[in-house]
C-alpha cells in the first residue's frame, strides 16, 4: 500500500497531512492492517518535502485538532528541523573507493519554509496551554536556534576573523530574544512559563555548541539576556522564599491540610524558579569563560 505525495506542500494540503498524521497516531485497525505503517512511512518521506514543516506547524497551532495528532505534528516538525535544516548541499558527494553510489542527498530546506516557521513558532508556543505540547514546542524552537546558528556560523566567522567581534556578528533569528523577553514580562503565568521554557532549551542547546565562533556568539547573547533574567530570578526566588517562610511560621495547631494546600499551590512557581535558575547557570558558566 503506497500513498501518493505531492512534490511540494502548501496550505491546500493541510487536510491531507492531517489525515496522514491521524492514521499514524492511532493504533492499527483490524479492518485495515498495515494502514498505520504505510502512513508512518509516508510521513517519514514528507520530512524532506518543501512546505511540509509549515503545514505541520499549522496543524499544531489548531487547538480543535485532537491532542495526539497535534503531538505527532510537533514531533514531525522537530524531526524535519533536526535532520534537514542544518544541512547544506554537498557539491561533490563523498564516496568511499569501491563503494556503491549513495542515493542523492535531499535538497536543503527552503528559505521560505524557514521564514514561515520562524515568524509564527514563538507566538504559538507562548500561547500553548498544554504542558507537554508547550515543552515540545520549546524544544523545536531550540532546534531552530541551533540550525540558524550553524547556518550563520560561516558568515559570523568571517566577521570575527576580520577584526569584528561577536557583538558585530550578524543576528540569527532577530525576533527570537525580543519575543521571548516580551513573554517573560507577560501578566499570564502560563506565558511566562512557556517563555522561560523556550529560553532555557535555546540557551541549553546554544551553550553546548563547541565551535569557537558559536561560543563567541553565545557569550554575546548571554551578556544581553543576563540582566533581565537575573531580575526575573530574583523576583521569583524572593517571592518563593517569603511564601515558604510564611508557611514555616504558621501558628501551632494549624491543620496540616492547610499547609499542604498552600505548598501544593506553589508547584508552578517553584518550576518557574527552577527554569530561571537553570538558564542563569547556563549563561553564567558558559557565557563567561576563562581568558
Amino acid at each position: 500500500m503506497s500513498i501518493q505525495l505531492p512534490s511540494q506542500f502548501d496550505a491546500n494540503h493541510i487536510e491531507m497531512v492531517h489525515t496522514l498524521l491521524k492514521v499514524a497516531a492511532e493504533p492499527d485497525q483490524p479492518s485495515a492492517p498495515g494502514r498505520r505503517k504505510a502512513a508512518e512511512q509516508a510521513v517519514q518521506k514528507c520530512l524532506f518535502v518543501p512546505g511540509f514543516v509549515p503545514v505541520v506547524h499549522a496543524i499544531f497551532c489548531n487547538t480543535k485538532v485532537a491532542h495526539n495528532v497535534r503531538f505527532v505534528a510537533i514531533v514531525c516538525a522537530k524531526n524535519a528541523v533536526s535532520q534537514h535544516w542544518g544541512k547544506t548541499q554537498r557539491r561533490v558527494p563523498f564516496r568511499r573507493r569501491g563503494a556503491a553510489p549513495s542515493p542523492p542527498a535531499p535538497p536543503p530546506a527552503s528559505e521560505a519554509d524557514k521564514r514561515q516557521l520562524k515568524s509564527a513558532l514563538l507566538q504559538s508556543v507562548l500561547r500553548e496551554s498544554d504542558t507537554l505540547l508547550a515543552r515540545h514546542g520549546a524544544l523545536l524552537a531550540a532546534l531552530v536556534v541551533r540550525a540558524e546558528v550553524r547556518g550563520m556560523g560561516r558568515s559570523a566567522g568571517r566577521s570575527v576573523g576580520g577584526g569584528g567581534g561577536p557583538s558585530q556578528a550578524p543576528q540569527f533569528w532577530p525576533d527570537f530574544f525580543p519575543t521571548v523577553m516580551d513573554g517573560l514580562r507577560s501578566e499570564s503565568q502560563d506565558v511566562v512559563f512557556n517563555a522561560l521554557q523556550i529560553l532555557f532549551h535555546a540557551m541549553d542547546t546554544f551553550s553546548k555548541m563547541k565551535i569557537l565562533v558559536h561560543k563567541m556568539l553565545f557569550q554575546a547573547q548571554s551578556a544581553r539576556v543576563l540582566p533581565a533574567l537575573q531580575q526575573l530570578f530574583q523576583t521569583l526566588a524572593s517571592n518563593l522564599s517569603t511564601d515558604m517562610l510564611s508557611i514555616q511560621q504558621l501558628p501551632g495547631g494549624t491543620p496540616p491540610s492547610f499547609a499542604v494546600q498552600k505548598i501544593s499551590g506553589m508547584r508552578q512557581r517553584v518550576k518557574l524558579c527552577l527554569f530561571a535558575a537553570k538558564t542563569l547557570r547556563r549563561c553564567i558558566v558558559n557565557g563567561y569563560v576563562r581568558e
Partner: protein, 123 residues
Amino acid sequence: MGTFVSDHCDVHQHVPSRQLTEVCGVYDRTPSFAESPAAHAYFSFVLPMLKQLNSSVVFLETISAKDEFRSVADVYRDTEKVLTTMAKTVAKVRGQNCTGLHPRRPVCRAMTDPDLQLFFLEH
C-alpha cells in the same frame, strides 16, 4: 504555643541531600563572571537566598517524608533542585574543588566561608 514547624517536624535533624553530592566535582576553571558587572548583583542576592532556601528545603524534606504530606514531594524536589543549581553555580564561579566534602558542605561553605564572605564584600 508552638509553631507549625515544631508541631509537625524537627528541622534540626540531619537531612542528607543526595542532589548536593553532585556539586562534588572538580571545578578548576576561573570564569571571568566574578569580574563582570553582573556578578555583584548576583552574589549579593544569592548568598542570603541560599541560606533561606536551605531552611525551606530542610522543612519540605521533613514534611514530605510523612505519609499524609506525600503530595508535596514534587515541590520539595524542585525546591531542592533550585538550591542545588544555585550552589553549583556559586561553586563553579569560585573554581571550588568540592571533592570529598560533606553533601551539604558546598551550601554551608557558601554561607559561612570567611574567604567567600570577603570576596563578596569586596565586590
